[in-house]
Symmetry: C2
């Protein structure tokens, strides 16, 4: 903006810029004309991966879809998301299969057993054409610890109904999953409240 | 793992590693003993920022909190999250104040007017001690276009009840907001379905 610009000039400049931007956006949108179930991976060390998955659960429910949730890792505290989504048993099949963080259980054989039981449930959801979205929360953790065979997991995901969306969360997503996915976001930490002495807060972190 | 290791060796090694890890985690947790309303910012170009905010809405509701949502930018399509959360008018105050993306409206004066009206609503939520979490969806976009005065916005956020959580989403978070926030995540694009010709899908993108 220069000092000589009138409000009308600013408005005209804004409009011209936005028209150009709209033309570019419209062109890109016209090129993307395929509908399909999407495989989305939220990975990286930053906050917001699981919550993002739980936001997509809300979205899917708003579109009248049925949703399946499998939580592979879970702390001792009952989470708000579990308490909330269990209100809708007709719409959300909610499963918690983990017993806690790997450093809490300290028992690899038991962790593997729980992961395998969790995958049996996930496979059932991935075979059900009535389920529009499957959230596999913290599955990346389980895969990066080799608690499940990644090739088997990917084959089951690939064999799902074509319209079904799958969201996988957790740090350390395996490379083969990243290659297979349509959309992958990496969440970076810019800063975190925990480092400032603030403990995990209900409503935000669990 | 070496070839000579027995299953018992593997289990013992895992347990020792996890015990050490647990000790470190426990020490960090003991240091973080403050409870406070958290200001969280989800920014960056990647997918998952708004959905993360909407997942925290579910979390907060699961803890019995009341929640306020203000959506500052909104496309022409009705979103799943809006349809879903409007089911709970006693628990969620849901406001959509924008009329569409900046390149759709092509009218700066009108965008500014709508942003200001949106901020009046946000300010009301930020002054209400009954509201446990306020989601200011796409506020960063509005701030980076200078549709609102960042200093005024930050002052209103700073003046909120101490226990209230605020989540701000959108790419291009202003530096002053990042400095003030407790937790900031930057979501990077590793890959995106749109670039592979897949249009925005209900349940995932809206």
């Amino acid at each position: 903006m220069t000092q000589d610009e009138t409000p009308e000039d600013i408005e005209a400049r804004h409009k011209a810029k936005m028209q150009k931007h709209k033309a570019a956006v419209d062109q890109r949108i016209a090129k993307a004309d395929t509908d399909t179930g999407v495989l989305l991976v939220m990975t990286g060390p930053g906050k917001g991966k699981s919550s993002s998955g739980f936001g997509m659960v809300a979205r899917a429910l708003g579109h009248g879809m049925r949703v399946g949730v499998v939580q592979f890792i879970k702390g001792a505290i009952a989470t708000g998301e579990e308490r909330f989504y269990r209100r809708f048993p007709e719409e959300v099949a909610y499963h918690v299969t983990g017993e806690g963080f790997t450093w809490e259980t300290q028992n690899r054989a038991r962790d593997v057993e729980r992961a395998e039981a969790g995958w049996e449930i996930a496979r059932g959801l991935l075979r059900d054409p009535e389920v529009g979205l499957v959230l596999l929360d913290e599955l990346n953790i389980v895969l990066s610890h080799d608690y499940l065979d990644t090739a088997t997991v990917l084959a089951d995901i690939a064999a799902r109904p074509t319209h079904q969306h799958v969201v996988v969360t957790g740090r350390g997503a395996p490379q083969a999953l990243i290659e297979m996915a349509h959309t992958v976001s990496e969440v970076k930490v810019v800063k975190h409240a925990f480092k400032q002495g603030i403990r995990a807060q209900p409503g935000l972190e669990f």
